[in-house]
């Protein structure tokens, strides 16, 4: 079994675990990585201790030929613990730079001890310092990567929420709803849109629904199918569906595609659709002038 290139580092971690731990935490405080407002000293010490133990087993098993790769199996434990601590701290509001500098503080502690033990062997000293630097730098980069990944997940969640927001069901008048569709309509989104709309029909006791597709870029067979199904479901619920915003270009495409809208009412503009919808619920929009004449009668 080949020896580790970091023999002295391993010895230090073995002989003086508590000493290294204490010095590291002190050093981290000095470097400004301490956030006693966000986590307790007890927690910090426990986290640092588990990192040190994983570091030691990684050095023992993985650092044999000088090729260091944090992705190796030997470092699986350390990666796990680093990720866990990073999640926990980030969640509490620790900055990624603070997390990285906490990890980097271990370097100073290790350098001091290496200098003492390898006074007589400058070549080995330089060698081990180089290797330990490489390793600890990689740990720090890793915590930043974990942090970024966590952020990406947050962004993805927000994107999903935006998607939901981008299909609002609006109450135009008593018993009249409108759903302005924007962008593209894939199957998953179509299902969500339909569900939102049907639930709004129940909640608002709506009798007419205007699905406006002015903002839909292209209507292919699939989108047309979704629209027809939505209209069918609206009718099954007991409300009337009007599809508005069908441009001449979209009308031509639909005919070319052989889409038969059947009994679904279609209107070119939302304005026409609104007139129809209001008539259906017994309301009319009149100029005030004419309204005066009507009421005067």
């Amino acid at each position: 079994m080949p020896e580790t290139n970091l023999k002295t580092v391993l010895d230090i971690l073995k002989d003086d675990e508590t000493g290294v731990l204490t010095d590291w935490i002190e050093q981290a405080d000095e470097d400004g990585a301490k956030r006693s407002d966000l986590f307790s000293e007890r927690e910090e010490r426990d986290q640092a201790a588990s990192l040190l133990r994983a570091f030691r087993s990684g050095v023992r098993d993985g650092y044999r030929d000088g090729d260091f790769d944090l992705e190796d199996d030997y470092w699986a434990d350390l990666r796990g613990i680093l990720a866990e601590i990073t999640y926990e701290r980030v969640e509490r509001g620790v900055l990624p730079s603070e997390m990285a500098s906490f990890v980097l503080s271990l370097k100073v502690t290790m350098f001091e001890r290496l200098k003492e033990r390898l006074k007589e062997e400058p070549d080995r000293l330089v060698n081990e310092i180089l290797l330990v630097t490489k390793a600890i730098d990689a740990f720090a980069i890793y915590t930043t990567e974990v942090f970024i990944r966590e952020r990406e997940q947050v962004i993805e969640r927000q994107r999903d929420e935006m998607l939901e927001l981008s299909t609002p069901v609006v109450e135009l008048w008593d018993k009249v709803l409108t759903l302005p569709l924007i962008g593209t309509l894939d199957s998953l989104r179509a299902q969500e849109v339909m569900e939102n709309l049907l639930e709004a029909i129940v909640a608002k006791q709506a009798e007419v629904v205007i699905v406006d597709i002015t903002g839909v870029k292209t209507v292919d067979t699939q989108v047309a199918q979704h629209l027809l199904r939505t209209a069918a479901a609206v009718r099954l619920m007991g409300a009337q569906c009007i599809v508005s915003g069908i441009s001449p270009k979209i009308a031509q495409t639909m005919v070319q595609l052989g889409v038969d809208v059947g009994e679904v009412k279609t209107r070119s503009s939302i304005r026409n659709a609104l007139t129809d919808a209001l008539t259906a619920v017994g309301v009319a929009i009149l100029p005030i002038e004419r309204l005066d004449r009507v009421t005067a009668k």
Partner: protein
């Protein structure tokens, strides 16, 4: 038959179907309902399915049949109270129930039947 009840309001027959109705109950209902339409001379039928957990192809087919039978006996049929999840499932099954009239609730259906002169009051 205890899986559904039929009431008469303003000359309209109101049918409310209970949640765990079995196929044979629905067939019975179709029989009883046809007879009641003929006996009472009702011009309208409202089938409330708000309590039904699901409408599968069998129930969908019976609903369509009841509508056709009613039409032959000169009565309009409304299906009311369909839940959103049921409507979406039916559409996926390709069952659009084109012959049925639909309304949100019983009172919506009754209001429209009054407008159309199908209730006793409006007729008399």
């Amino acid at each position: 038959m205890n899986a559904a009840s039929i009431y008469s309001v303003e000359g309209i027959l109101l049918v409310s179907i209970r949640a765990d109705i079995a196929d044979s109950d629905i067939i019975d209902l179709q029989d009883v309902l046809s007879q009641r339409i003929a006996d009472t001379g009702a011009r309208g039928v409202v089938i409330d399915i708000a309590e039904l957990d699901i409408v599968d192809t069998f129930v969908g087919r019976v609903l369509a049949q009841v509508t056709s039978i009613s039409k032959l006996l000169d009565a309009e049929t409304y299906v009311v109270g369909m839940r959103p999840a049921v409507a979406m499932t039916l559409v996926e099954l390709g069952m659009y129930l084109p012959g049925n009239r639909t309304a949100l609730t019983l009172s919506h259906a009754l209001a429209r039947m009054r407008e159309d002169g199908l209730t006793d009051d409006s007729a008399g």
